[in-house]
Symmetry: C2
Subunit: 388 residues, 2 copies
């Protein structure tokens, strides 16, 4: 690859700054790098989450956005110079401003969404040029983790297995028969002995099961939620990608190889346009040779919909999770979220979601919070672009 | 009274313009006059109905306000010159502008709310000075009547009985065991023979009964809702007032007697301040000698709360009554009212009320729509004066 090129003047500090003297100045290989694919629109959190301001950019659980919290959570493990965020062009400015500590070169802008395979693969290819022995972890930008110590322990165990050549998923112990998630079945084969917990060989990945199936998975004790937390050596990942997705692998190497050239954007755009979208799960993990999983409990949530977000807020005495100015009589177990500061008054309703945005208002049955996605589909069909 | 005074220059045209030459110019006694007490705050229709812009001023059922619709409904019977509106100072300007056809002198501003007894009594006293033989009907400013022909027939029957000296209520055949209304029990004694329907002597008035009682009333066929529609001769009313409420009667005559004097406002304010609040029902009708009732069905509603208002709107296919921009999936039997034009999105909720005002938002169980009044009490206790 490009390590053999003549050095060029560095134009940015740290991180993925152009190779050259820096590849010599940073010889310490095998360090831990964090990658945060910041994609997805979070339509189930409409009308707060919008195409232009998706879930990961929003301060849904405190003053910081979910992206900022994700970076902060990883700061214990990864310095900003070894943290990469992959996002789309529409969100590059917001990400750059929310993460001032992130070196400019570490903001990787994918020209268009091609699912997680290309996004995570490109990050791996770029890291490999700087640190061929790097261990890389990939973490969604819009999830919540309450127990950071448990997260750290799982990450340490996963890193040990990754150093031994395994592609590792940190899998969450399921707490309910959720039909919206993917599951990972583990074997009883411990692949490495770690001080921080077991790492098992994976048996298989299962996408969104039916309810009865999901219930059986939870009861079995052998299935874990796939929360898109991956740890591997970039060497192992790229080797499996070369085997399983050779066209993608070649394309990503071509992009990475020209990353420091003045033609980066042209080359990237051209090559990227030809990529077939594929998820890292379906493209790599489901077919790879050495796949392992670390079972973990860490107070994880994908903050997937208003019902789930409500569970993460401290409820009032009537069980209402309130972000805003609520006056109520007889209203219980509801989720109230205001972006406008308007008074919200509730009378005698139970288990509803009320979301008050400047240009739209949502009232939903809390048990049907997932269906907000369908509502957004209706808006799209109706060309209600102002509200998307 | 003042008919013997020397004529003064008329300063307004028609209606209750100062007596004098006009009392000569309009000699035709015994005509029908309409009085519309425009009071009440309509708190159950919060947050659209507010203290400063109460229910009767709002266009809740079409382009015209309920007050405008009330005047229009009476126009078949009463020219503007014989229509009086009684309201409080805070609403005088709005009433004057909503009813440009109303002579200025026919807008009677009561200094403070003293319930319906003084308001209706003052109108009667003022009418009596112009037309001692007048028949007067009094009709709430904020009710809805769908069947105007039926209303007209009931009014004709009531007028016949009123000419015979009866104090007449037009009572509505109850359609449900409503506990929020007053009821009138009728006898079988027909007091006059009319071409447009029976008029019965009343047995008694009952205020807001318990549910079981209300159910028995509805089943009996002898009870009618008291919708505050009264018809009487001003002579009969004032005679009963002199007997049953002598202090009120004397006070109202004193105000009426000085109505055309430059000191009207001072006299009115002073006398009015000393009045004890009393309803026309409790102060007069429940104790009067010759009380009759006209049973009627006219598609009447008091437009009392959001549930009731919803019943008056044309529902969509899912049974939702919508005034605004609704996009929904699985939402049924709900009432949606927007004052802002914002998109309202609903998912999977049934029987809710959603009202979107610029500074406040209401979400209520439709079956508990009456409790909105309690919510407004909470706002009052909380000194939320901006939202009252």
């Amino acid at each position: 690859m490009s390590q053999g090129r003549p050095p060029r003047a560095a134009t940015a500090t740290g991180g993925l700054a152009p190779l050259g003297h820096r590849s010599v100045a940073l010889p310490g290989g095998g360090r831990f790098w964090s990658v945060i694919p910041a994609g997805g629109s979070g339509t189930r959190l409409w009308p707060v989450s919008r195409a232009g301001r998706p879930k990961f950019l929003l301060p849904l659980l405190g003053a910081d956005s979910l992206l900022q919290q994700t970076v902060d959570r990883l700061a214990a493990t990864t310095a900003p110079e070894r943290t990469l965020v992959v996002c789309g062009p529409a969100h590059a400015a917001a990400v750059a401003r929310q993460l001032p500590q992130l070196p400019e070169a570490n903001l990787v802008v994918e020209p268009s969404p091609k699912n997680t395979g290309p996004a995570i693969g490109l990050a791996a290819a770029l890291i490999a040029r700087h640190d061929p022995d790097a261990i890389m972890g990939s973490f969604a930008a819009d999830h919540d983790v309450r127990d950071r110590a448990a997260f750290g322990r799982a990450l340490a165990a996963a890193t040990e297995a990754a150093r031994a050549g395994w592609l590792v998923t940190i899998g969450l112990t399921p707490t309910r028969p959720e039909t919206g998630y993917g599951y990972i079945e583990r074997t009883d084969e411990a692949v490495v002995a770690t001080a921080t917990g077991p790492v098992f060989r994976s048996a298989r990945f299962v996408e969104k099961p039916a309810y009865d199936q999901a219930a059986a998975y939870v009861a079995s004790g052998r299935f874990l939620w796939n929360a898109s937390m991956f740890v591997w050596s970039v060497r192992s990942l790229l080797a499996e990608m070369a085997r399983l997705q050779p066209a993608l692998h070649a394309a990503l190497l071509r992009i990475a190889d020209g990353w420091d050239d003045p033609t980066r954007d042209e080359v990237t755009a051209e090559v990227w346009a030809g990529l077939a979208p594929v998820s890292i799960d379906q493209g790599i993990m489901e077919h790879a040779e050495k796949v392992a999983v670390v079972p973990a409990e860490m107070g994880w949530s994908d903050v997937g919909d208003w019902h789930g977000l409500g569970d993460l807020l401290v409820p009032d005495a009537a069980g209402n999770a309130v972000h805003g100015d609520l006056v109520q009589t007889g209203a219980t177990n509801s989720v109230v979220w205001s972006e406008t500061g308007r008074l919200i008054a509730m009378v005698g309703v139970d288990n509803v979601v009320v979301v008050d945005a400047p240009d739209a208002l949502l009232i939903a049955d809390r048990a049907q919070a997932q269906e907000v996605r369908r509502l957004v589909d209706l808006l799209r069909e109706g060309q209600r672009i102002d509200q998307l």
